[in-house]
Symmetry: C2
Subunit: 210 residues, 2 copies
């Protein structure tokens, strides 16, 4: 049976993806996410739970050692802190960079892949996020998109594909600090279905909601 | 007299910019850079030297407290490590992120500006750097470009302009790990002259070598 790993599986999009992947019944499913919600989610989906601090390389490394080679790796972890740059703490900046960018680097570095494996990274439409109060978020996601481009080129010889998914606003807890998601935000379940459907052709970039 | 601050002033582009700015004679000039080369450079240009670890927020903060409000802030610090993602150490990743991205965030956060001040950040042409072995560099520079976009919007009300300069390859020590700079690389002196000349209109983005 093929193995799928989802990082950020307790988030809005991550959990929708986890449910959808579990529903397909084609994968042994390994989930990483926030400690409090993870074991309940994994249990309900018949998945394995491996809580991981994405800012700590050793933990990400250990997850892949424990899991073995994978066929589908979805990095759905993400954090946002809508604060002007002049007021943002370095702790918040670092946490956001870790969740959105550095954790993805650690995953790409340490993942063990079967040939034909697919990596999925979640990007954004720059024009949606390059707005006041979203400096750290915009920077980390732009970094992630560039990382995806390079990873695709580097992993090609191992027959590993990298898909960057660009998402419009999705109705998740990420918007909580702002009160609520913007009008017209995608339902996470629809976003998950569209992502997994779009993955079938293993495109380098998958733009949704356009 | 107006005050100019240059970060990364001991680098190839930074030192060329420092010489050019000093030559104009219009600024009190404050330089931050690598400790070993900084005091000699500053002395030769009649500038003040404040060595700063760009990964340490307190040091960047202290520089601005000691310097007072500035009129021109050039962030020319930068690091590169041409290593595939699968082989890159987290220490090298972090150092590169600090020099190219987080240090710029600290500078934008703590700078004290006079009205009409101009910030200059050095970006890249994505297609030149989104290549194998440049994952960390490409990610950090893409992050910096997004940061520049947001900073411009946030600092507008303080009458501070932000110019993102996109540079082609410039003949600097940054290429040392690769042996030498690519053919047709700009001379740092020419790059510096073109940057300062292009700044006169305070454009949001200044693309050189195209």
């Amino acid at each position: 049976m093929a193995t799928a790993i989802i990082f950020g599986a307790t988030g809005g999009i991550g959990s929708a993806l986890a449910r959808q992947v579990a529903g397909e019944g084609r994968y042994r499913l390994v989930l990483s996410g926030r400690r409090a919600a993870l074991s309940g989610l994994a249990q309900s989906l018949g998945a394995e739970a491996l809580s991981t601090d994405l800012g700590v390389e050793l933990e990400v490394h250990a997850l892949f050692e424990l899991t073995g080679p994978c066929d589908l790796l979805i990095y759905a972890a993400g954090a946002v802190d809508p604060t002007p740059l002049r007021e943002m703490t370095s702790g918040s900046w670092q946490q956001l960079m870790d969740a959105n960018l550095t954790g993805a680097f650690y995953a790409l570095k340490h993942a063990r892949f079967n040939p034909g494996a697919q990596v999925v990274l979640l990007g954004v439409y720059p024009e949606f996020v390059q707005a006041p109060r979203f400096g750290a978020y915009a920077a980390s996601k732009a970094g992630l998109e560039a990382l995806a481009e390079v990873a695709r080129k580097e992993l090609r010889r191992d027959k590993v594909g990298v898909t960057l998914v660009r998402l419009p606003a999705v109705e998740t807890g990420l918007w909580q600090p702002l009160g609520k998601a913007p009008k017209g935000a995608l339902d996470p379940k629809d976003a998950a279905a569209q992502i997994l459907d779009g993955l079938k052709d293993a495109p380098p970039v998958l733009e949704l909601g356009r």
